[in-house]
C-alpha cells in the first residue's frame, strides 16, 4: 500500500482508526480486511483468551492462538478438499467457538461464509445450499446432519459435509461426510506441505471481496443472500468503535444466532478490533444462567430477551415478603428519579443521587448481581422495536440500556443511541461515517461504506434496493429531528390501504401493542378491507400469571387464549392503544393466536418476530372470522 495516501489515524481505546470515518481505505490497526485484522490480532495476542465455552458444566478458555491454529487448519483443509476463492460454505450450527473458527478459516482462503439457522427445516436448508451454491456444509450434530440426509440427493453442488459433534455418529459411514477432527488432520497435513499457503491466501483478500452471505428472513418471497464485503464489515467495526466502545478486558456473552448480522458483528467481528473476550452461552435456553455466570461488560439482546428479564424480576418482586416488596418499590422510585436526569443527560442533583446511592446499596446492586448485570457498562437492544417504558426501567435499576438500528444490508449498524447521547423512543443518531436522509414518501435511506454489495445472484433485487444516486433504501419509514435522532414509524411495504383509501403504517400500531406486557407480538390486518383488525400473540408467562392471580382456570395454551378474562384483558390493552390513534387507525376486532409458536414454525423469524405474510396465510380463518 502506498503510505503517502494513507488517511490520518486516530486511536480509540488503543486501536487505530481513520481520523475521518467513512474514508477509504477503511483501516483498523492498519488492516483493510477482516482476515488481515484477524491475522494481526492472533499474532499479537497469542495465548490471551479469545473465547470461553462451557464443557460439562465448566467454563473453559480458548486463546487467540487456538483461534488462529484451528481457522488455519479449516481454511487449508477446505482448500485442499476443493474450496476455491469466491466459493460458499454454509454453517448450520448453534453458537460455539467453531462457528468463529470456520467463519475466519473460510474467509481467510477467500471463501464466503453463509450461516443457516438451526431452526430451519430440511427444505429451507436445501434452498439455501442450492441458492448460495455452497460447496461445503458444516453441521453441528446428528440432528442437523439428518436435515442434510433428507435432501442428500437434491444438493448436487455440495462436496462435503463436516460434522462438529460425533456423539451418536461413531458408526457413520457416508462418502460425503467427515468429522471435524478429520478435517483438522487434513489441515495439519496441508500446513506441513505448504507452510505459508494460509498467510499467502490472506494477503490475497481485497476490501471489495465478498466475505459473507447473510440470508435475510424475507417476510415476502424466498430469502435473499445479502453479500457483505470485507470493507462493509470494516466500516461497521469502525462505526462500532466510535459508538459502542468495547475494551480489551471486557467480557461478552454470545447467544443470539450468529447467522444474524447483529450477533455476528458483536461477537465475531467487533472483538477482532476490541480484543474483548467472548463467552458462548451453552444453549438458547440457558442464557439467563449464563448471563449471571459471565456478568458481561456489554450485552446485546433483542427486546424479547429484555422483556423476559423484566418479567422475571417483576414476578420475583411480587412473590417477595411485604418488606422486600416495599423496599423494591422505594428503590425503583429512587432509580426512576435518577433515570429521568440520566436519560436527558442532565447532571443528577445531589439529593437524588444520594437517595439513589442508598437504595442502590440496599436493593438495586443486589438485583443487578442476581441478574448478572453488576458489571454491565452498556446494554444494547435492536432488531425490533422496544418499549420506552422498558428502557426507562432498565436505566432506573442502574443498567444503561440503549436502542440501535441496523439491517443486514447495512452490515448491521446504521444508527444508535449511546449512554451519553440517548433519546428514548428514537433509534439514535446515525453512526460516524454514514449518512442518512429521508426520501419522498418518508423512507429512511442511508449511504456509507457499510452498505452491502448486492444480493447474491439477484441483480434485479439489488437494483430495487439502491436508488439511482447510490443510497440504500432501508424500506423503513421515519423521520430525523433537528439534533439528528432518527425515529422509525413503519415499514414501507407493510403499508395498508384500507377499502376507504386510507394509508396506514401498521408497524406504529403494532409496536404500541407490543409494549403491553401481555402482548408478545401483533399483526395488523386491513389491506383492502373496510376496517383494521389484529392477530395477537400473547405473552405466555405474563398472561399465565394474570390468569393464576385472577383464578381464571386454564389447562393448556389454547384454553388460556380461549378464557373470556384473557380476551377481556387483551381487549382492554387494544382499547388503550386505540385511544392514541385516529379513528381510521383504530382496531375494531382482534383474535388471539392460540398455538404456542416456536422458532421452528414458519410464522416466526429466528428472532421470534411474527412474519406478516405467513401469519396472514396460516390464520386466514381467524381473519375471515373478523370481517
Amino acid at each position: 500500500m502506498d503510505t503517502r495516501t494513507l488517511p490520518a489515524q486516530t486511536r480509540i481505546n488503543g486501536v487505530s482508526f481513520n481520523a475521518t470515518p467513512g474514508q477509504r481505505p477503511v483501516l483498523v490497526d492498519g488492516t483493510t480486511t477482516i482476515v488481515g485484522l484477524f491475522q494481526k490480532r492472533c499474532a499479537e495476542l497469542g495465548n490471551r483468551t479469545a473465547h470461553r465455552e462451557k464443557d460439562f458444566g465448566i467454563w473453559k478458555t480458548y486463546s487467540w492462538a487456538d483461534y488462529w491454529q484451528h481457522a488455519k487448519w479449516i481454511g487449508l483443509a477446505l482448500r485442499k478438499l476443493g474450496l476455491q476463492r469466491g466459493g460458499v460454505v454454509s454453517i448450520l450450527s448453534e453458537d460455539r467457538k467453531e462457528w468463529a473458527y470456520f467463519d475466519m478459516g473460510i474467509q481467510a482462503v477467500g471463501g464466503i461464509a453463509s450461516g443457516v439457522y438451526t431452526t430451519d427445516s430440511a427444505n429451507q436448508l436445501k434452498y439455501l445450499v442450492n441458492d448460495s451454491d455452497s460447496r461445503f456444509l458444516i453441521v453441528e450434530n446428528e440432528e442437523q446432519l439428518d436435515k442434510f440426509m433428507q435432501i442428500e440427493g437434491e444438493v448436487p453442488g455440495l462436496l462435503n459435509v463436516i460434522i462438529l459433534e460425533d456423539e451418536g455418529l461413531h458408526d457413520l459411514d457416508h462418502p460425503r461426510c467427515l468429522m471435524i477432527d478429520r478435517l483438522y488432520e487434513i489441515g495439519r497435513q496441508a500446513e506441513r506441505d505448504e507452510p505459508d499457503a494460509f498467510e499467502a491466501e490472506i494477503a490475497l483478500a481485497r476490501p471489495e471481496d465478498v466475505a459473507l452471505l447473510i440470508y435475510t428472513s424475507g417476510t415476502t418471497g424466498m430469502p435473499k443472500g445479502a453479500m457483505l464485503t470485507h470493507e462493509n464489515i470494516m466500516a461497521a467495526i469502525e462505526a462500532g468503535a466510535h459508538r459502542l466502545p468495547t475494551l480489551p478486558e471486557d467480557e461478552q456473552l454470545c447467544f443470539l444466532p450468529l447467522c444474524h448480522i447483529l450477533e455476528r458483528d458483536v461477537s465475531i467481528y467487533f472483538p477482532l478490533a476490541s480484543k474483548s473476550t467472548v463467552n458462548f452461552a451453552e444453549s438458547p435456553e440457558t442464557v439467563f444462567a449464563n448471563l449471571q455466570e459471565v456478568s458481561p461488560a456489554t450485552f446485546t439482546a433483542v427486546p424479547r430477551v429484555w422483556e423476559k428479564i423484566y418479567s422475571q424480576v417483576l414476578i420475583m418482586a411480587q412473590e417477595a415478603t411485604p418488606a422486600g416488596r416495599a423496599a423494591f418499590g422505594m428503590a425503583l422510585k429512587a432509580g426512576m428519579k435518577r433515570a429521568e436526569y440520566l436519560i436527558e443527560n442532565k447532571p443528577v442533583p445531589a439529593g437524588v443521587a444520594a437517595n439513589f446511592w442508598f437504595w442502590d446499596r440496599l436493593v438495586l446492586r443486589n438485583l443487578r448481581r442476581m441478574l448478572g448485570m453488576d458489571k454491565m457498562r452498556r446494554g444494547g437492544t435492536g432488531a425490533a422495536p422496544i418499549s420506552p417504558a422498558l428502557l426507562k426501567w432498565y436505566w432506573s435499576i442502574g443498567v444503561p440500556l440503549v436502542e440501535g438500528y441496523g439491517m443486514t444490508e447495512t452490515a448491521g449498524i446504521a444508527t444508535i443511541n449511546t449512554p451519553e447521547e440517548n433519546r428514548i423512543g428514537t433509534i439514535g443518531k446515525v453512526v460516524p461515517g454514514i449518512e442518512v436522509r429521508i426520501a419522498d414518501g418518508g423512507e429512511i435511506q442511508v449511504k456509507g461504506l457499510n452498505t452491502f454489495k448486492g444480493y447474491w445472484r439477484n441483480n434485479e433485487k439489488t437494483a430495487e434496493t439502491y436508488t439511482a444516486d447510490g443510497w440504500l433504501r432501508t424500506g423503513d419509514i421515519g423521520r430525523v429531528d433537528a439534533e439528528g435522532y432518527v425515529t422509525i414509524t413503519g415499514r414501507l411495504k407493510d403499508i395498508i390501504i384500507t377499502a376507504g383509501g386510507k394509508n396506514i403504517t401498521p408497524a406504529e400500531i403494532e409496536s404500541r401493542l407490543k409494549f403491553s406486557h401481555y402482548i408478545s407480538d401483533a399483526v395488523i390486518i386491513g389491506d383492502k378491507r373496510k376496517y383494521l383488525t389484529c392477530l395477537i400473540m400473547i405473552d405466555q408467562e405474563n398472561v399465565e400469571k394474570f390468569a393464576q392471580d385472577r383464578k381464571v382456570p386454564f389447562s393448556n395454551f389454547a384454553s388460556l387464549c380461549a378464557a373470556q378474562e384473557v380476551k377481556d384483558l387483551i381487549a382492554a390493552e387494544v382499547a388503550a392503544v386505540n385511544k392514541e390513534f385516529a379513528r381510521v387507525e383504530q382496531i375494531k376486532d382482534f383474535r388471539l393466536i392460540d398455538v404456542l409458536l416456536t422458532a421452528e414454525d414458519e410464522e416466526l423469524t429466528a428472532t421470534m418476530k411474527l412474519k406478516r405474510s405467513f401469519v396472514e396465510k396460516k390464520h386466514a380463518h381467524l381473519i375471515e372470522d373478523m370481517y
Binding site: A122, E142, D146, E544, Q548, K551, P553, S555, L596
Partner: protein, 257 residues
C-alpha cells in the same frame, strides 16, 4: 355431558420454597376415568396429595360435588368420598388382608354395608379372598396393589385417586389390574383419576387425559386425541419417528399441539 364432580381451579402447591404445582386446572366428570401423564417430578403425585388433603394448596380451589374442599383434613376428604390409593401401595405389612380391608372401611359405621363391600372387593379380586388370613407383607407386589385398591374400595368412594397402580409390576399384571379397573368403572360406574408413567396403559383405560410438565398442564384432550398426538407418541408412547438415518438418537422439540 353431566356436571364435573371434581373441579380443580388454579392450584399452586409448594414444598417449602419450591413450587411443585404452578397453576393447574382440571375437571373429572362422574363415571369418567381421567388420566394424568407426566415424567418424574412433573407434580402428579403432589396434585393427588393436594386433592386428598395430605398437602394444602397455597392458592386455588378444589370443588368436589359443589363443595370447596381445598385444605381440608385428609379424613374429612375421605368421608366426602375421595379415596387416595397411594403410590407404592403402602399396605400395612404386619396386618392380615382382612384387617387391611377393615381399616379401609374406617369411616363406615354400617356393619352390614362393610361386609357387602368386602364381598364386592373379593368378587373383583378373588385372590384376596384366598389370602384373607395372610399377612399383607407376604403378598406379591401385584397382590399388594390389589389389596391397596380393595382397601380404597372399602371406603365406598365416589372417586378414586390412583397413584401409579402399575409401579413395579410385570406387564401381564398391569394388564390384569387395569382390566379390573376398567370393570370397576363400567360395572360400578366408579369415577377415577389415574396418575401414570405407563402412558399406553393409562390412555387405553382412560376417557380423558392431561399431560403435566414441571408443574403445569401442557396438553389435554380425549384419550384418542392424545394417543394420536405426535408429541405423546414420541415422548410417552415410545414411538420412534421415521428418521433419515438408522440409529437416530435426537428427539424433536415438544410443541404440545
Amino acid at each position: 355431558m353431566s356436571e364435573a364432580i371434581l373441579k380443580i381451579r388454579n392450584i399452586e402447591s409448594f414444598y417449602g420454597p419450591i413450587m411443585a404445582i404452578r397453576g393447574v386446572s382440571l375437571e373429572v366428570r362422574p363415571g369418567q376415568i381421567v388420566s394424568i401423564l407426566g415424567a418424574n417430578g412433573a407434580g402428579k403425585t403432589t396434585l393427588m396429595k393436594t386433592i386428598s388433603g395430605v398437602m394444602d394448596p397455597e392458592k386455588g380451589t378444589i370443588t368436589f360435588d359443589g363443595e370447596e374442599i381445598q385444605g381440608s383434613e385428609p379424613h374429612k376428604v375421605v368421608q366426602k368420598g375421595i379415596v387416595h390409593v397411594p403410590e407404592g401401595r403402602e399396605v400395612f405389612p404386619l396386618l392380615t388382608v382382612d384387617e387391611n380391608l377393615s381399616l379401609g372401611a374406617y369411616t363406615a359405621t354400617d356393619k352390614a354395608q362393610i361386609e357387602r363391600d368386602r364381598e364386592l372387593v373379593f368378587s373383583y379380586f378373588p385372590i384376596l379372598k384366598e389370602r384373607r388370613g395372610q399377612e399383607a407383607g407376604t403378598l406379591s407386589g401385584g397382590q399388594q396393589q390389589m389389596l391397596a385398591i380393595g382397601r380404597g374400595l372399602m371406603a365406598n368412594p365416589r372417586i378414586m385417586l390412583l397413584d401409579e397402580p402399575s409401579l413395579g409390576l410385570s406387564p401381564l399384571l398391569v394388564q390384569e389390574i387395569f382390566a379390573i379397573l376398567k370393570r370397576l368403572n363400567e360395572e360400578q360406574n366408579m369415577t377415577m383419576m389415574l396418575v401414570e408413567q405407563n402412558a399406553s396403559a393409562a390412555l387405553n383405560l382412560a376417557h380423558h387425559g392431561y399431560v403435566m410438565e414441571v408443574g403445569r398442564i401442557v396438553m389435554d384432550g380425549s384419550a384418542q386425541a392424545l394417543m394420536a398426538s405426535e408429541d405423546i407418541q414420541n415422548f410417552y408412547l415410545g414411538v420412534q419417528e421415521e428418521g433419515a438415518r438408522e440409529n437416530r438418537r435426537w428427539k424433536r422439540k415438544k410443541t404440545w399441539r
